[in-house]
């Protein structure tokens, strides 16, 4: 069966499971069925609220994602190729890896203030150690023979990075990006929940206080939907392109 057919059937199965669960439960204020969400979803869409908060959250996710990926990749590459630096930085990495996201968020808000800088920084700091760890593994596995080849033929640095290093790191970078996307948007929601006045996380906070389960679901599902689209339209095609030489 084609990839997209399986995907659709699988998702429909989930909706069916949810509908049955809601029907057994019988109380829409506790677990509304998917059909119950259509009206609130449309009204939020029409008022522009949903798109506004979605946009704000997406902007934060993109900012934190780009920062964490670039800083984490550079750090991972340096640590993976330089054992001495690795020994010095590894304890820091372990500390940050094991620092709970919540602690970093609270500290950033306390030290920097309840502002956008603190929010983005908290998310970025949470994600960098993950990216670094994954990329470091990739950098340790770099082929020494290709390095020697590039050295003898005096390949220029930018060409070397782009055509020798990057392709070897590609599976690790896509791996870090995949898990990064998923983790980052969850942390962004917590950051918004705790200290921002807009975004999906803020809306969930609002409707949590109003005990409005339907609206909580509308907002979180909108974002999940958005992430699925990103995954299918951006990440997976990008990964296929990068892996083309393996399949040829």
């Amino acid at each position: 069966m084609a990839r997209s057919v399986i995907r659709t059937v699988s998702l429909l199965g989930f909706v069916l499971f949810w509908t049955i669960a809601a029907w057994i439960n019988g109380d829409p204020s506790v677990l509304p069925s998917p059909a119950d969400l259509v009206r609130p979803f449309l009204s939020e869409l029409a008022s522009g609220e949903l798109l506004y908060h979605l946009g704000v959250t997406v902007a934060r996710v993109i900012a934190a994602f780009c920062l964490a990926m670039s800083i984490g990749t550079v750090l991972g590459l340096l640590m993976g190729t330089n054992p001495e630096l690795d020994q010095w930085l590894d304890p820091w990495l372990v500390v940050f890896l094991n620092l709970p996201a919540l602690v970093l968020i609270v500290l950033c808000y306390l030290w920097i203030g309840l502002n956008e800088t603190a929010a983005i920084m908290a998310v970025t700091l949470n994600k960098i150690p993950n990216v670094t760890t994954i990329i470091r593994e990739g950098a340790r596995a770099l082929d020494p023979d290709l390095k020697a080849m590039a050295q003898v033929f005096r390949m220029r640095r930018p060409v070397y990075l782009r055509h020798v290093i990057l392709p070897q790191l590609a599976p690790f970078i896509t791996g870090a990006a995949r898990s990064g996307m998923a983790v980052i948007w969850k942390i962004v929601l917590v950051v918004e929940f705790l200290g921002r006045s807009n975004g999906i996380g803020f809306q969930i906070h609002l409707y949590f206080q109003l005990f409005d389960v339907a609206m909580v679901l509308v907002y979180s599902l909108s974002f999940i939907g958005f992430m699925l689209v990103v995954e299918w339209l951006l990440l997976q095609p990008a990964e296929r392109r990068v892996r083309a030489w393996r399949l040829a």
Binding site: A148, M149, Q151, V152, F153, R154, R156, V159, H163, W245
Partner: protein, 210 residues
């Protein structure tokens, strides 16, 4: 002129090379013989400047090429790009011409993984000669090929050497290969390995074997 004067090379406490010195005139081909594990590849890496941790001096030209035991290609780039990326001054026409010379003109768009080992070796050879090197270093470039393919590779290498005329340093443990390519030989033996004295280094004439 290439001048190699290695006093000592050690890995940790184990000394592997001691007093290896030789000169190489432009266009000359020197074969280095010796048992496997004696330190021939180590010597080549010192001469090429891949490994700089040794006592002694090496004078080498800027334009170098190395043919490794493994083809050492970029598996994620096409055969053509494998030449173009390594030699930025090479035109696409020039790169295709290089591929044609090694019989790979129709494989320009294939990835190395789609080529046979013999073809990958020839691509590595094309890459080495495409940069018109003044010093060419070959590290057992014909091992693990069947006899016929190896013979073809030797002939091909000889043609390219005659055309480009680099000073060539060539490691092998096949005397026959050395006979066909080298002007003179140098034998390494012992621990730490050093040049074997009192060995008559036979002078070959490349033209002799045809």
């Amino acid at each position: 002129m290439i001048q190699v004067d290695i006093k000592s090379k050690a890995f940790g406490r184990t000394q592997v090379l001691k007093d290896v010195a030789f000169m190489l005139k432009p266009g000359e081909c020197l074969a280095i013989l010796g048992k496997s594990g004696v330190g021939k590849s180590t010597l080549l890496r010192l001469v090429a400047g891949i490994d700089t941790d040794f006592e002694g001096t090496v004078q080498r030209p800027e334009a170098m090429a190395f043919v490794f035991q493994e083809p050492t290609l970029l598996p994620w780039r096409s055969a053509l790009d494998n030449l173009l990326l390594v030699h930025p001054d090479l035109s696409e026409v020039g790169a295709r011409e290089s591929l044609r010379k090694v019989g790979l003109w129709d494989k320009a768009d294939q990835f190395p993984g789609q080529l046979s080992l013999g073809q990958q070796r020839r691509l590595a050879l094309a890459r080495a000669f495409a940069g018109k090197p003044e010093l060419l270093i070959l590290d057992e470039p014909f091992v693990s090929l069947d006899e016929k393919t190896a013979a073809e590779m030797v002939a091909l290498t000889r043609d390219l050497m005659n055309e480009v005329g680099p000073a060539t340093l060539f490691v092998t443990h096949e005397r026959e290969e050395a006979r066909q390519l080298a002007d003179r030989t140098l034998e390494l033996a012992g621990t730490p390995a050093t040049v074997v004295p009192n060995v008559v280094h036979p002078v070959f004439h490349k033209g002799e074997v045809k």
